[in-house]
């Protein structure tokens, strides 16, 4: 499997993990380590000054893991820039998952504000990985604005509906000069493999692992699926026939006398 390179940094794993919705921080850490992931998201919240015990950060800080702070909760570009500066200060990284989704019902990314924020954050020295609509025109604009990747959605966050945007993701991959990470909606290892077979550079998975019956085993399943899908892409998939007419894979020369 080829290494993934984002903003000059190499990654051995093409599976990114979100840290939401796990039953405990211990379980989350075990799942992250089992997944082999080297890119893990982290959100921010206002500190509860009376609760010193609550510390998820040390569960995700490992030498092989790049922290990817997100801007979840912001409603526009201005708030995103503020959140980014807070994240850089708190976590000591300029990597950022830019997500601007003002509508809580579908959590769909705001295209106008996402593009605006990307332009500003790149100028401020951030490595910007924007969560975005599966819109090929937008993805080119984000690339021109200096985004390190684009992260189009497969389906709305947390829905586990898979690649509802499959055809558009194919166009995005075909056009992109930067890595394409399918973020949101991937609900099963088969769907992760499907994204990788299409040529996605990586997938970001959270809910499907966090709420699984056994998150650690599900993390391993996703790891295997992402590797299989990528291997298949690099090996070159055979074409799909346009009809149902068979094409023999064994010689039909009769060896039995009729």
């Amino acid at each position: 499997m080829e290494k993934l390179v984002i903003a000059g940094k190499e990654f051995n794993s093409r599976l990114f993990l979100g840290t939401g919705k796990f039953k405990s921080n211990d379980l989350m850490e075990k799942a992250i380590l089992a997944s082999g992931s080297e890119m893990v998201t982290v959100a921010m919240k206002r500190i509860d000054l009376d609760d010193k015990e609550d510390d998820m950060l040390h569960h995700i800080v490992h030498p092989h893991i790049q922290l990817l702070p997100n801007t979840s909760g912001v409603r526009n570009a201005e708030e995103a820039v503020f959140a980014a500066q807070m994240a850089r200060e708190a976590f000591g990284t300029n990597w950022l998952k830019l997500e601007i989704h003002p509508d809580p019902r579908y959590l769909l990314p705001d295209t106008v504000e996402t593009l605006k924020a990307t332009e500003q954050l790149v100028k401020l020295g951030f490595v910007v990985l924007p969560y975005c609509q599966a819109d090929p025109v937008l993805c080119r604009q984000l690339e021109e604005a200096g985004a390190a990747t684009v992260m189009p959605l497969g389906a709305p966050i947390g829905t586990n509906k898979g690649l509802q945007t499959r055809e558009f993701i194919q166009i995005i991959i075909e056009q992109a000069g930067i890595p394409v990470v399918v973020d949101a909606g991937i609900g099963a290892p088969s769907q992760a493999a499907e994204a990788m077979e299409l040529g996605a550079s990586a997938v970001l998975v959270n809910t499907a692992i966090a709420v699984a019956g056994d998150p650690v085993r599900m993390a391993q399943a996703f790891k295997a699926a992402v590797e299989a899908g990528r291997e298949a892409y690099e090996a070159g998939l055979g074409g799909v026939s346009s009809s149902f007419q068979a094409s023999a894979s064994s010689p039909l020369t009769a060896f039995l006398n009729s």
């Binding site: 921080n25 998201t41 959100a43 919240k45 206002r46 500190i47 000054l49 807070m86 200060e89 708190a90």
Partner: protein, 66 residues
């Protein structure tokens, strides 16, 4: 003077710096960021940042999220 920290009112001596507030609150020395009136203040500037009456201080830390 009265300031607000994460929307909670707090009494501080006048001319208190952000560094003094951090010490009063026993803020962790890693993994937090502080803003005063929506302006992020890097840790290196805490000592020279003097708080004013009615300042809105926000302190954030890591949380689980995708």
């Amino acid at each position: 003077m009265i300031i607000k920290v994460n929307n909670k009112e707090m009494e501080l001596s006048s001319q208190a710096s952000l560094q003094q507030l951090a010490e009063t609150l026993q803020m962790p020395d890693k993994g937090v960021a502080v803003a005063v009136n929506n302006q992020m203040i890097p840790r290196t500037k805490w000592s020279e940042t003097i708080l004013q009456e009615n300042d809105q201080v926000v302190v954030i830390k890591a949380a689980c999220g995708g």
